[in-house]
């Protein structure tokens, strides 16, 4: 039983940062931006979260700092890709590189450490016991007691589905991706919508970063986003931006990621268990593509 709950919790933990970043990515996806900067935004978010939490003695201010940091990254993205019309892919690659260099640089400059910074002074984001559900025997343990950001991620998923498919902003957002010229001539500057989508994406990635450094663990380590931004991007593209699909893919990835740790007792070499999440992603891509093909045929 313990192991089962452990697996569920590992799944949630693995899924949360990917889900949050991917929800951000879905906004830029619908706006027609090939945004690969989620990785960098997340990393800067994680760093700024620790920075804020440590110096301002408050996890909440830490989270705000994370969002602010990610927003600065978004600002650079906006300046280059939206305003100067440079290649989005390139801007993203440069930003990711920049994020790694900058956070390492600042880690050394501000905290005088390399590698990782951990300190009792870093305030962590608290876990939340859901009021009613927590009391229910099985369900309570399954659903309650996670980090606040986990519930924020769930909320973000629901909210994003609502915003994208029900609101005026959503209609314009998708229009910006389908046909920006049409949106422009309808009187809505597509570039504004793109800018907003990047801002939303930065907020989500900032939260994802804060979860990494203040939520699950309470420290900043160099390059701690560890490729999660890329997985988020893959998730977004895999389900063509649908928030529910993203939730499913993130949970699947989280599950298989957790499984790599739980499969340790078996005789499979660790290098192979480590492949499982990626093979599983390929598997879901296979199912998705075959289904799509069948629907078209």
């Amino acid at each position: 039983m313990n192991v089962l709950f452990g697996l569920v919790s590992a799944m949630v933990v693995g899924a949360t940062p990917i889900l949050l970043a991917a929800i951000g990515g879905t906004f830029t996806f619908y706006a027609g931006i090939f945004n690969i900067a989620m990785e960098g935004m997340m990393l800067v978010g994680a760093f700024c979260a620790v920075l804020g939490s440590f110096f301002l003695h408050s996890w909440f201010l830490g989270v705000l700092c994370a969002i602010a940091g990610a927003l600065i990254m978004a600002g650079i993205f906006i300046l280059f890709a939206v305003k100067l019309h440079t290649d989005e892919f390139l801007t993203g690659i440069a930003l990711n590189l920049f994020a790694v260099g900058l956070t390492t640089f600042l880690l050394r400059d501000i905290f005088h450490v390399k590698g990782a910074f951990t300190d009792a002074g870093i305030r962590a984001i608290p876990s939340v016991k859901l009021p009613l559900i927590d009391g229910i025997p099985f369900l309570g343990r399954l659903l309650s007691g996670y980090n606040l950001i986990v519930y924020v991620a769930v909320l973000a998923t629901v909210l994003s589905a609502f915003v994208i498919f029900r609101t005026r902003f959503g209609l314009r957002l998708r229009a910006a991706g389908y046909n920006a010229v049409c949106l422009n001539s309808s009187g809505v500057p597509a570039s504004m919508i793109r800018i907003w989508s990047l801002i939303v994406c930065a907020v989500c990635c900032g939260l994802a970063g804060a979860y990494l450094s203040l939520g699950y663990v309470r420290l900043f380590a160099e390059n701690m986003s560890a490729g999660r931004g890329w997985i988020s991007l893959a998730a977004v593209i895999l389900v063509s931006g649908n928030p529910w699909g993203i939730a499913v893919i993130s949970l699947l990835f989280g599950f298989f990621d957790g499984l790599t740790v739980f499969l340790q007792g078996s005789r499979i070499p660790t290098q192979f268990t480590a492949m499982i999440p990626y093979v599983a992603t390929l598997g879901s891509l296979y199912l998705y593509s075959v289904r799509k093909k069948r629907r078209q045929a």
Binding site: R166, R172, A175, Y178, C182, N184, S185, S186, V188
Partner: protein, 517 residues
């Protein structure tokens, strides 16, 4: 005619770097409550002028006055707010959205939390549809409706915003002959309600019937503005191209040769398994131009794609010069078929590639002179000579070979494509709307080319939405309706009414009887 000047464009200049002067000191004024036509050759600057006015393009010099005041529309939003709306040359709608979504986009009624008030939006759209008697269902996806209906959606989109000035950039280019008069009545009604309409068109007949005044542009300059009632089609054409243009057929009688192209019993379905072509039979002989008439979406597209091998056929046979190409790959077909597709940017060329790269496509495989190093290399020297040949033979007005294809104006793009295809020297030529969106001068040129092909004993299948064109150049006209070939008529023995009758689905069985006899 004591109307007020509503819009006054003064000394507008627009340069597209590096060296296209799209508008050179253009001054023109539009009066309130008039239908004002803007005509001119391809690339004359009509669209650019309107885009500048609408805030879609920045101008490099000049002033704009609207209702007497100097205005500065930096974005379409500001133009819309001032009561100006524009329908673009290319249809700008989102196929994934429904009609009402497309219409309200940018001016959506909202309720709490920024949610779109679907009910209110749909009602408002329905009301507009009723008010202007457009026959549309607000809930269908725009991707599922005909081109003509999309045009209506574009216009409704403006009316929904209560604009008083409508700018329509070639609204009729994609419409069928039956739909044009409909649109005209609607436009006339709008004018009578006090709207001002500026419209761009290449169809001089339309221009003369519909508009109050006509402004002619040539090479970025205004030639003049005159009342439509004082003009003839010939006057207009002369002003546009700067010389006389002939509007009558110069098709000489000629005995067609052996059968070059034969399609028998073609059947074809779309992705949703709806049959799009049933048992279509078409034959073209050497030295013959066969026209395909039909309302758009009645199987012409599938016919073309089936001939080119772009979609699989469920049954039927294709034959060119006695060679069975039913199952041949595209390259084999290309040795026998020259193909001018209707969509230049999608099927006819790559807009981002250089002129040279687009001009040598297919030749680079079929013509051994394009190969070097035992076929591994591409002979760029020969390629350059080849493009020069196209330029000279087809009178293409272009810059350097390495300039991007999209820097050419529409007419010149079409000439490059025509040149490329006709120089393939194939026995059979398939042309899909080769004159769509071209100006009179270029159309005349294409028609001459077609007739030259005919006298060179090549077989031509010409798909066109323009009946006048078919009557001018085709020897026979086959009519398609709902995927069937419903009639096969000798041009000299039929008339526009009869073809129109078949196009709209009349007398199907009788038509078969007629062809059989």
């Amino acid at each position: 005619m004591a109307r007020d000047v509503l819009i006054d464009l003064q000394h507008i200049t627009k340069v597209f770097p590096p060296d296209t002067v799209a508008l050179a000191d253009v001054s023109v004024s539009f009066e309130s409550g008039e239908i004002h036509a803007l005509v001119g050759e391809n690339g004359a600057g009509k669209s650019t002028l309107m885009k500048v006015f609408y805030g879609l393009e920045r101008r490099d010099a000049g002033d704009i006055f609207f209702r007497g005041a100097k205005v500065e529309f930096r974005t379409p939003r500001e133009a819309i707010a001032a009561g100006i709306g524009m329908v673009h040359q290319e249809i700008l709608l989102i196929p994934e959205y429904t009609v009402w979504q497309n219409i309200v986009l940018g001016a959506e009624p909202v309720s709490a939390f920024g949610t779109i008030d679907v009910h209110r939006a749909r009602e408002a759209v329905r009301q507009k549809i009723e008010e202007f008697q457009f026959n549309l269902d607000p809930d269908t996806l725009v991707g599922d409706i005909s081109v003509a209906a999309r045009q209506k959606v574009e216009i409704l989109k403006l009316l929904y915003r209560n604009v008083s000035v409508l700018v329509l950039d070639e609204p009729t280019a994609v419409l069928t002959p039956q739909e044009i008069p409909q649109l005209f009545t609607e436009l006339a009604r709008l004018r009578d309600k006090g709207h001002t309409i500026i419209f761009i068109s290449h169809r001089l007949d339309e221009v003369l019937t519909l508009s109050d005044r006509v402004t002619v542009m040539r090479r970025g300059k205004i030639v003049g503005t005159s009342a439509a009632s004082k003009l003839t089609k010939e006057d207009l054409a002369r002003q546009m191209v700067g010389r006389e243009v002939l509007f009558t057929s110069r098709r000489q009688p000629q005995e067609p040769g052996e059968i070059v192209f034969r399609a028998q019993g073609l059947n074809c379905s779309d992705t949703e398994h709806r049959a799009r072509l049933h048992d279509a039979n078409v034959e073209v002989r050497a030295g013959e131009i066969v026209g395909v008439a039909g309302v758009e979406g009645n199987g012409q597209f599938e016919l073309v794609n089936a001939i080119m091998g772009l979609v699989p056929m469920t049954s039927g046979t294709l034959e060119v010069k006695g060679k069975d190409i039913t199952h041949a790959d595209i390259l084999t077909r290309r040795t026998l078929i020259a193909f001018v597709p209707q969509d230049r940017g999608k099927m006819g060329a790559s807009l981002a590639a250089s002129i040279l790269e687009d001009a040598i496509m297919t030749h680079h495989i079929l013509d051994p002179r394009f190969r070097t190093w035992k076929g591994l290399g591409l002979n760029y020297r020969h390629a350059a000579e080849f493009v020069d040949q196209i330029r000279d033979q087809f009178a293409v007005n272009m810059g350097h070979l390495s300039d991007p294809f999209h820097s050419l104006s529409g007419g010149n793009q079409q000439k490059v494509i025509l040149g490329r295809e006709l120089l393939l020297e194939t026995p059979f030529v398939l042309m899909d709307q080769p004159t769509r969106g071209l100006d009179v001068g270029s159309i005349e040129y294409v028609h001459q080319l077609l007739l030259a092909l005919r006298s060179k004993k090549r077989a031509v299948l010409l798909i066109s939405a323009d009946l006048d064109e078919l009557f001018m150049v085709a020897d026979r006209i086959v009519v398609m309706c709902q995927g069937d070939v419903v009639a096969d008529l000798a041009t000299d023995a039929t008339n526009g009414e009869e073809v129109g009758y078949y196009m709209l689905g009349g007398k199907k069985d009788a038509a078969h009887a007629e062809t059989d006899s």
